[in-house]
């Protein structure tokens, strides 16, 4: 069944994205990893919609829209952080605690 393969790929992508967010220090890479996670989820939605109706595909459009908006905001933040610190290494901006 194609669904099984699609779901396996989705799981692998999601784990890769999660792993990337946890281990990488570069903010842009971390951002890309989040995008990978989102798209892994999208893949799972599309795969499921094959057996469970159109809802999953509609949800994918929503996720893509929000992801686009989030990408715009997130990249803007990263750029302004870079202007301030001249780096995008997250180890250098850890002031927001306690």
């Amino acid at each position: 069944m194609i669904v099984n393969e699609a779901l396996t790929l989705s799981a692998i992508l999601f784990v890769l994205g999660t792993f990337g967010v946890i281990v990488r220090r570069n903010a842009i890479i971390m951002f890309l990893c989040v995008e990978i996670q989102l798209n892994a989820v999208n893949l799972a939605f599309v795969a499921f919609s094959r057996t469970m109706g159109i809802d999953g595909q509609i949800f994918v459009f929503f996720v893509m829209t929000v992801a686009a908006a989030e990408a715009a905001v997130g990249l803007a933040i990263i750029i302004s952080v870079f202007r301030h610190y001249e780096t995008v290494n997250v180890n250098h901006f850890n002031l927001l605690k306690w």
Partner: protein, 720 residues
């Protein structure tokens, strides 16, 4: 004054008219008598606040606020008229009421009700005034003497920056005192009782910037609290037994409800006595009164001699039925009274501060009043209360005049001597002739010399004590009788000593100072003269019948005989009946034989002899000014000079342990345990917070890791 025209009042008056069957007694604006001094206090209080704000402005600007010599500010001119004015008008209204009551045969008190003060369950207290012979007499004394002292104060306090504040307090005091003597129930009386205590505190500490004087005020207040505890317990016991606290109800029902000599009535009277010892400065709670002399001298005259301190005597006289029902309670009253009379008199023998002598003398005379009401001679006790108000107020005002003159003279030459120390005075009769003569009249009166006021009142009390020695507890009353005679002799001695040291002999103030000694102004000498007249003739209203018929009463030539006795009869009749029922008719002889006239003659002759001896002894003694005088070293003299070390004893036995306990409660219980618990709760929250904050690294990757872990845990728990 809407309230006086209210239908409530008219109803009450109508009821009263029914009560006093026969010719009705119609009270004339009794509420206004009480209210006027309160209004005066308000007006003067506003003036005081304005003056205080103004002086604060000047002080903040770096200046010193003093009164201008030429034209005093409005805030100081208003109290001059309002202060004595309201009391004077109140006195006039009381006089009208008195003359309306005089021809009426009034057997039941007239109760004027204004509104319901509190009503809880079956307990109801009305804001009501009770007008009867006793409260009328007290109102006369309080407003009359107050008026004279207010007038005196106008001169005495003229130079004080706190002038309006002084009159505000003084008027407030008169208000509360009138509430005390006219209240128709125990709670209303208690309001006055506490109020006069408050005013006493405020006026003792009138010059509060001196910590010693502020402390004296606190001492008076705290010592009085102990007595108030007794009064409150007595009230609770009475309410428990009667279900009401109105005088007419309680006293009317007392003979049926309470058994003669029973435990309850004894407890009530003893607790009430505790309250009375606090307010009236009797053993063991007398120590506050001598310290209360820190206040201005007219205050000492008004509050700590003539009126407030007699509240205890008034209370016993008012509840005479209860005391008559309790022979032990009465014995305790008489015993404490006579012991205080003698004890305070011994201390007065050695004091050098003119006001301290008078303070101990007051304590001693109050002891006589307690002896009087304790032996069942309620009218005699109240009689001595009245004459004492006259001559003691006069003595205090006279000493005030002396201090005023001394203070000005010493102030002129910037000598820092104590203006109250009699060793610094001497020979003042040349400079203060009016004060000198009037004070001698008061001295003869208090010493019990015929025909001055004190002779008749004191003699009646001593005689009554002798008569009581023929009844039960004869041994006790015989001792009381002897002690009261001894105290009378001491009284004559210490008063003469005071007069001689102050007014006779050579002048010790110094030559330069002597040139600045002047008689005090007219506002001060006129009240002195008025009180001197009352001290001289005030005793004639209650001359005992036998004395009246003898040569001491000019063979019946004195205008009145036993008038006060008859006047107070409706008030004391119930108590007298109980005493006669249980003790038998009153005996008419002293324990060691001799009639009333014989003992009267003996006592006045003894007093006169003591006065002459005292003059001779004190005049011969070499007195040096206080700064050169050594501390008394000889045993008994030093013991008396140090006031029997009672203050030291109380300090060691009561004050220090209480302070120690308070400190323990503060340091260990409050700061240690209670604060410890609160702080521990705070510290715990902080520790948890600190531990939690360890997870806040600020590193995004960590957060992502923890988030993932969390999701895994939740998902895992859902799956398995």
């Amino acid at each position: 004054m809407g309230i006086f025209a209210s239908p409530l009042l008219q109803e009450a008056v109508g009821e009263a008219a029914v009560q006093g069957a026969g010719a009705p007694f119609e009270p004339f604006l009794p509420g206004l008598v009480v209210l006027l001094p309160l209004l005066g206090a308000l007006v003067n209080g506003v003036a005081a606040l304005v003056a205080a704000r103004r002086s604060a402005e000047v002080v903040r600007g770096g200046g010193e606020w003093t009164l201008p010599d030429h034209r005093r500010p409005l805030t100081h001119r208003i109290p001059t008229w309002v202060g004595p004015g309201v009391v004077g008008v109140a006195f006039a209204i009381v006089l009208v009421n008195f003359f309306r009551m005089l021809p009426v045969e009034l057997h039941e008190p007239v109760v004027v009700e204004y509104w319901t003060w509190m009503s809880t369950g079956t307990f109801e207290v009305a804001a009501a005034l009770q007008l009867d012979q006793l409260s009328m007499l007290m109102m006369l004394v309080v407003t009359g003497v107050s008026f004279l002292i207010h007038v005196f104060s106008v001169g005495y306090m003229a130079a004080d920056v706190g002038y309006p504040r002084y009159f505000a307090y003084l008027n407030l005091f008169v208000f509360f005192m009138l509430v005390l003597v006219t209240g128709a129930s125990f709670p209303v009386l208690f309001v006055g009782w506490e109020g006069v205590g408050l005013c006493s505190y405020l006026l003792i500490g009138f010059w509060f910037s001196d910590p010693e004087k502020a402390d004296a005020g606190k001492k008076a207040f705290i010592v009085n609290r102990i007595g108030d505890f007794g009064f409150l317990v007595a009230m609770f016991l009475l309410f428990n037994a009667f279900g009401t606290l109105n005088f007419t109800d309680v006293l009317g029902a007392a003979p049926e409800v309470l058994t003669y000599g029973g435990g309850l009535v004894t407890a009530v009277t003893l607790f009430m006595l505790l309250g009375a010892t606090g307010k009236s400065a009797q053993i063991p709670l007398y120590t506050w009164l001598p310290d209360a002399m820190a206040g201005p001298t007219p205050v000492s005259a008004l509050i700590h001699a003539a009126t407030m301190v007699t509240a205890g005597v008034y209370l016993v006289a008012r509840t005479s039925v209860l005391f008559a029902l309790s022979p032990i309670g009465s014995l305790a009253v008489a015993g404490i009274g006579v012991l205080t009379a003698l004890f305070a008199a011994t201390i007065a023998l050695t004091q050098y501060d003119i006001k301290k002598v008078l303070a101990y003398s007051t304590v001693s005379q109050l002891g006589y009043m307690f002896l009087g009401v304790g032996v069942g001679a309620y009218a005699a006790g109240v009689f001595h209360l009245m004459t004492h108000a006259f001559f003691k107020a006069l003595l205090f005002l006279g000493s005030g005049a002396v201090i005023h003159a001394m203070h000005e003279a010493l102030h002129h030459t910037h000598k820092d001597w104590d203006p109250q120390d009699m060793r610094n005075m001497g020979g003042l009769k040349r400079f203060l002739p009016v004060t000198w003569i009037t004070m001698w009249i008061a001295t003869l009166a208090i010493s019990g010399i015929w025909p001055f006021a004190g002779f008749f009142s004191k003699d009646e009390i001593i005689w009554s004590a002798g008569v009581a020695a023929r009844g039960p507890y004869a041994a006790f009353y015989s001792i009381f009788w002897v002690l009261s005679l001894a105290a009378a002799i001491l009284t004559a001695f210490y008063m003469t000593r005071l007069m001689v040291m102050t007014f006779h002999g050579g002048n010790r103030t110094g030559e330069e100072e002597a040139r600045h000694l002047h008689e005090v102004p007219l506002t001060m000498t006129v009240p002195l003269a008025a009180l001197a007249v009352l001290s001289a003739f005030g005793g004639w209203i209650n001359v005992p019948e036998r004395v009246h018929e003898s040569f001491l009463g000019l063979f019946g030539g004195l205008p009145m005989s036993e008038w006060l006795h008859h006047w107070l009869e409706p008030v004391t009749a119930a108590a007298d009946e109980i005493r006669i029922e249980h003790l038998g008719p009153v005996a008419e002889a002293a324990p060691f034989g001799g009639g009333e006239v014989l003992w009267a003659v003996a006592s006045t002759v003894a007093a006169l002899v003591v006065v002459l001896i005292a003059v001779a002894v004190v005049r011969r003694r070499a007195i040096v000014p206080a700064v050169e005088a050594p501390e008394p070293s000889a045993g008994i003299h030093r013991l008396l000079y140090r006031k029997w070390y009672v203050d030291e004893l109380y300090d060691a036995v009561i004050v220090r342990p209480v302070l120690g306990l308070s400190r323990f409660c503060w340091r260990v219980i409050d700061a240690g345990i209670i604060d410890g618990l609160v702080n521990a709760a705070g510290n715990l929250a902080r520790a948890v917070g600190w531990f939690g904050s360890l997870f806040q690294t600020g590193a995004l990757n960590t957060y992502a890791f923890v988030l993932t872990l969390g999701v895994l845990v939740i998902l895992g728990s859902l799956v398995f």
